[in-house]
Symmetry: C2
Subunit: 219 residues, 2 copies
């Protein structure tokens, strides 16, 4: 294989999915995908990511890359063509901010709202609503189809958790978080995002995902 | 002012300090520094960072930049001269990984070890030890003075929390975390880091810092 490129991933991981989407957008399709069993981690995963033993790991010419946000930066810097990050430094900074916002604030709040301790759930639902409102506002102000503009970019890829995964979280837990009425722009974004070909072909099957997530977090 | 540049910061914040160090390394010294009172936040801070009302905020030509890691990327992309990030994509990815590691794993563990709930402290001390060992190993393998090589770079700047702040945490809480015996490379790094002129002139006075942190976290 010309590129000597492997991706250690897991089918239900939105973080792995981000890397698959980014590679597809760049037209990088010649790589070895290795499915990891997180309950029985492979020696390869432990070798390449001994620090936190997590997927995704992208291995390029023998060099392991860890953390999906770091991998997305690397992919954009390494392969030309489709731009994942905006070109201008300020726009890049804004995109990086939202990516961190989704991972550091929104995702933990969604988990708490759906499957956190009973007594904290109501407050977590409010928190998720407030955080989603900020993203709804961002989309509204942009007046574009995607966070990236007319095509998907960093923030859209990172926000994959708000498409299929959020729906599975909602279905599995019975907690409603992102209704079409409250979040028309985000709901439209979610529909358009999952309809994008680079995304669609890399998403896991929804029903299996719902069952998997419910078993993982709900018990 | 030619650059129209302001920094909203707080004297005891290691995150604000990172931005000051980075600007100094770039030779950007003509900016307005605005000290924030975190117990009485200014309208300017609320205007520029309504989302989480935190410092640092760098305002460049009226555009607010949030989150210290994002600001460091912006500074390196905007001002030429001293390179804060490595040049090669893989080295950049490794630096970004360690920066996230420090903020997402190490710092929360340090807080728990020093001023977390009593029953979890011992475990947190063990966790900090394990995490620091990874950084010690990284420095040892590099055989360089700094994480950035012969000069300070991204990881050094982000690791500012391991210099003065960690010492203040230790003194204020009475918990020992990074002894010279266990961590000779990190201890040497810390000494060299705080002796670097761009760092030294931007550090807060240690005794005031210890008192401030103890009041903030210890009560």
């Amino acid at each position: 294989m010309a590129e000597e490129l492997s991706l250690l991933g897991m089918w239900a991981s939105p973080f792995s999915c981000r890397v698959k989407i980014a590679l597809k957008l760049k037209g990088v399709v010649q790589y070895k995908y290795i499915e990891e069993d997180l309950f029985n981690k492979s020696p390869l995963l432990l070798k390449y990511n001994p620090i936190n033993e997590k997927v995704p790991v992208l291995v390029h010419h023998g060099n392991p890359l860890l953390e999906s946000l770091v991998i997305l930066e690397y992919i954009d810097e390494t392969w030309q063509g489709y731009p994942i990050f905006p070109k201008e430094p300020y726009e890049r900074a804004v995109a990086r901010f939202w990516a961190m916002f989704i991972d550091d604030k929104l995702l933990p709040a969604i988990r708490r709202a759906c499957w956190g301790e009973e007594k904290g759930r109501e407050k977590a639902v409010e928190e998720v609503t407030e955080l989603l409102q900020l993203l709804e506002k961002e989309l509204k102000e942009k007046e574009k189809r995607f966070f990236g503009g007319e095509t998907i970019g960093l923030v859209d890829i990172v926000a994959d958790v708000l498409s299929l995964w959020l729906r599975s979280f909602e279905e599995g837990s019975g907690v409603e978080l992102m209704t079409r009425e409250k979040f028309p722009k985000l709901s439209k974004w979610s529909h358009e995002f999952v309809s994008t070909s680079a995304v669609k072909e890399n998403l896991p099957p929804k029903d299996e995902l719902t069952v998997f997530l419910k078993n993982l977090f709900g018990s």
